[in-house]
């Protein structure tokens, strides 16, 4: 699958989940396809999953989804151990792994292009195998995200994507969220405060 197919599937499966995206293309694609007030776009590199963990702990009645590229996720991957230690059943961490950094010309390989296996990293961090998923295509990815968002978490999902059709970060055609990060935080806080 490519990034567009993956994000189409994820957007269709989002429901009313709180979402924290990492930096880069996934943020704009989610904004285009499934924007909700309960969304933080372009969280700084390495922190989307940790922020999502905090929201999940604060709001146990909410489903919470982190969406990160593998470059960002690996930079903050210590959160794997903390998420497993805390085990919020409403947390889903999704990594879309295209094997390259999504910045510059999009051709700089990331660690997963040299053997890093994020699924095995989760297992090494203590996760039960039943909570760690590697769907093979977009349909399986969408189904897995939808199922994971029903509960029984935490879940860790890695979707491998083909970067050959990804737009470079400098492309004017790459969608970007049209909401300031401050407004995102205000909207999310307001939306979650209505939960009581």
């Amino acid at each position: 699958m490519n990034r567009l197919e993956a994000m189409d599937a994820v957007a269709a499966s989002r429901g009313d989940a709180v979402v924290i995206t990492g930096p880069g293309a996934n943020a704009g694609l989610l904004y285009d396809r499934a924007d909700l007030p309960e969304t933080i776009y372009n969280m700084d590199m390495g922190y989307a999953s940790a922020v999502a963990l905090g929201v999940a702990l604060a709001c146990p009645k909410r489903r919470v989804l982190a969406i990160e590229g593998e470059g960002s996720f690996f930079a903050g991957s210590t959160v794997l151990s903390t998420a497993w230690r805390m085990k919020p059943d409403n947390l889903v961490v999704l990594v879309l792994d295209n094997g390259v950094w999504g910045t510059g010309d999009g051709k700089e390989p990331t660690a997963t292009s040299f053997g890093l296996d994020l699924l095995r990293l989760a297992l090494a961090a203590g996760w039960d195998a039943a909570q760690v998923h590697g769907p093979a295509d977009a349909a399986a990815l969408g189904a897995r995200v939808a199922l994971a968002l029903k509960g029984g978490g935490p879940h860790f999902i890695v979707g491998k994507t083909d970067p050959s059709q990804d737009l470079p970060s400098s492309s004017p055609n790459r969608p970007r969220p049209k909401r300031h990060v401050l407004d995102c935080a205000v909207l999310m806080r307001a939306a979650l405060s209505r939960d009581g």
Binding site: Y47, L57, T78, S81, R189
Partner: protein, 168 residues
């Protein structure tokens, strides 16, 4: 030490509505962390890195909780980016960190920690206070949390080892 620092900090924090504590163990703050762990209703989140902990606190705050982060001030060095993000999006995070740039730092291996403790807050324009002997820690942390929540700003509270009650 003229007061029970752990009990004072806990009382002030609870009075200010603090209901969660993200922390990385630290020798100076061990007794404080243990006091928070024993506090009914306090969500305790041990993290693996200080910047990860600040990010978790950002999420807790977005979700309506009122967290503090506890760490040795060395962890502030990792946390610049996520603290900056918290400021940009006006999500307040209260940091309680041991050590400061002031008196009472006898050990050379704390040199880097001492150098950056106040520097990170100054560089980001984040308000901070340095606790001192004779000052009520209960009142200080209460006021720190008040300002963080009222002004939607992160706020640092630096606690020198001798104020925290650490032996040296």
């Amino acid at each position: 030490m003229t007061q029970d620092a752990p009990a004072s900090l806990l009382r002030g924090a609870v009075r200010a509505g603090v209901d969660a504590c993200v922390y990385l163990p630290d020798s100076c703050l061990t007794a404080v962390i243990r006091a928070f762990q024993k506090s009914p209703g306090m969500t305790m989140v041990p993290c693996a890195r200080e910047d990860e902990g600040v990010a978790i606190a950002v999420g807790l705050a977005l979700g309506g909780r009122n967290p503090v982060c506890m760490m040795e001030a060395s962890g502030l060095g990792y946390s610049g980016l996520i603290l900056a993000r918290a400021q940009v999006q006006r999500t307040p995070v209260v940091i309680v960190a041991s050590h400061s740039g002031g008196a009472g730092e006898p050990f050379d291996y704390h040199g880097a920690t001492v150098l950056l403790a106040e520097g990170v807050f100054k560089g980001l324009g984040i308000p901070y206070a340095v606790a001192s002997e004779g000052q009520s820690l209960e009142s200080l942390i209460h006021r720190v949390v008040q300002t963080a929540r009222g002004q939607l700003t992160s706020f640092g509270l630096l606690i020198p080892p001798f104020v925290a009650g650490a032996r040296q």
